[in-house]
Amino acid sequence: MKRLVTFVLASAVASWAVASCAGRNTANDTANDTARGALSGTASESPPAISTEPAPSPPVDRPSVELVAALDALTIQRILRHGPLGAPAPDPTNRVATSLEAAHLGQRLFYDPRLSLDGFHSCASCHMPTRGFADGLDLPVPVGSSDRHVPSVLNAAHQRWFFWDGRADSLWSQALAVISNPKELGVGRPGLARLVTHDAIYRAEYRAAFGEDPSDAPTDEDRTAVNAAKAIAAYEAQLESGDSAFDQFAGALAANDLDAAATYPSDALRGLLLFVGRANCRSCHAGPNFSDGEFHSIGMAPRGGGKPSHPGRMRGIEILRADPFRGSGPWSDAPTSEHAREVDALVQSSEQWGQVRTPSLRNVARTAPYMSEGQKATLREILEYYSTLEGAVTVAHHGEQVLKPLALSEGDMTDLEAFLRSLDGRDPPDERVWAPPKPR
């Protein structure tokens, strides 16, 4: 018997080791990720190191101090508007948004495959720490399938609207929607309430976070599920990516420390000057989070060609207004707050058809492929698109007309890419990644 057990364990470990060495993201990987998740409760196991996508590494060319000193005041002002990111504004609709106890509970839930109908997929199946909290796929392969590319959770608490079409207005309602969607995780609010109620560890952590016991009775299951989702949101709010090379440059610029500023690579600096200058990327990728938090259509053709078919923001607002879990709804902790009632003041028009949320560019180099259906595999492909607008689906007399072909040179695109890579931040601290150890 002992030999059998040893044999089984050894096989399991061996196959895990082989599969994780394969590197490609296959269904096996997904299963192994969940296997890792299932095993992650063991106290003796330390979380594996996070590997980031390797950046290209040409010899680094630094600008001269004089070049930095010669930047004009308006350019500097525009650069400084992009940082620092700072802490996210706490979500008033979530009373436990900054609670450490809730974040602890949320962290455990985030990696728990029991949130899925098949028991193999957790939030982390699509929001993988090793892939910038996205999945590296054009379209995800979770429980069922989806037709939207997975965005990163890093810095998500800085967003105002969630999902590509903004149909959720808080991190917790976004999590709840995914948990309730049979094409995604799918156990639903009853399943989530049941999990949290009948697992002793969860029950204790829930009590610590909310001051009451969870319950999956039909009258209580929604409240319990909503609280659990708020705990997940509290965890996600901790997934901040920290200082990037750009932030260090901007900080040095703000402090007028030209020597420190001049350690920023030349190509990234040239790319940055394009970004805030002629290429005008800051039109939409504005502010410290490199996103205006709003919605645009850049005419991107759908995956597989043909005509665009996603109504985008136009439909997203409709869904949001009907969502009982929106910020102004009964489950919010601040339904009458200015923040929550923004949904009532939203303009809704057919000009928003097809518009999707401007993603943040922080950590963009780590979250290939790109666009709402993963249509662009590399940063370079995106820059080529903006340069020529070839293949853009544009229609006169409808919607905004923000883009013009930029006619970027090879050098321009290389520089812009270097700048975008300089937006990679530091990872969240190790203890915030992977499920926390189970208490003894």
Partner: protein
């Protein structure tokens, strides 16, 4: 110093002072202090496009910045009788002429007892050239005044 030299210096100073006095007296800068009792906000003066009204528009705190709900005050006066606020309605909107789009939030307008308007939740989400539209409604006419704003 020779007297000729001194006279030249005095003349130069006088010229400079006169220039300064002239510039400030005839300043076309639209910002002025409101002398009415109890109000200290600086405002821009905007004439409506048909010339019928003069609007005093205060700046939001921090200016017209991107990505923040903006609040400001508007007083509407008749061009031919600017002594008191006109009894009119006001509609507020904003637009980016180069981009062919407007705002994503609906501003709120409240009419105060003294006839001035408080505008809130004007949200300019992109940098660039915005036109803020202030439409004065006095049946049967609606007349537009507009303010050009460059948002960074």
């Amino acid at each position: 110093m020779s007297s000729k030299n001194l006279r030249a210096r005095i003349a130069a100073c006088a010229l400079v002072l006169a220039g300064i006095a002239y510039a400030s007296a005839t300043s076309r800068a639209a910002t002025q202090e409101n002398a009415a009792a109890g109000e200290h906000a600086a405002y821009k003066t905007v004439r409506s496009n048909g010339g019928r009204y003069v609007l005093h528009v205060t700046e939001p705190e921090g200016g017209f910045v991107r990505g923040k709900p903006l609040a400001f005050d508007v007083r509407v006066l008749r061009a031919d009788d600017p002594t008191q606020p006109a009894t009119v309605g006001l509609l507020v909107d904003a637009d980016m002429p180069e981009h062919l789009h407007g705002t994503n939030r609906v501003p709120r307008i409240e009419r105060r007892a003294d006839g001035t308007f408080r505008v809130e939740n004007l949200y300019l989400h992109m940098p660039g050239w915005w036109e803020v539209f202030l439409d004065v409604v006095e049946s049967p006419w609606t007349e537009r005044a507009q303010l050009r704003v460059e948002v960074e």
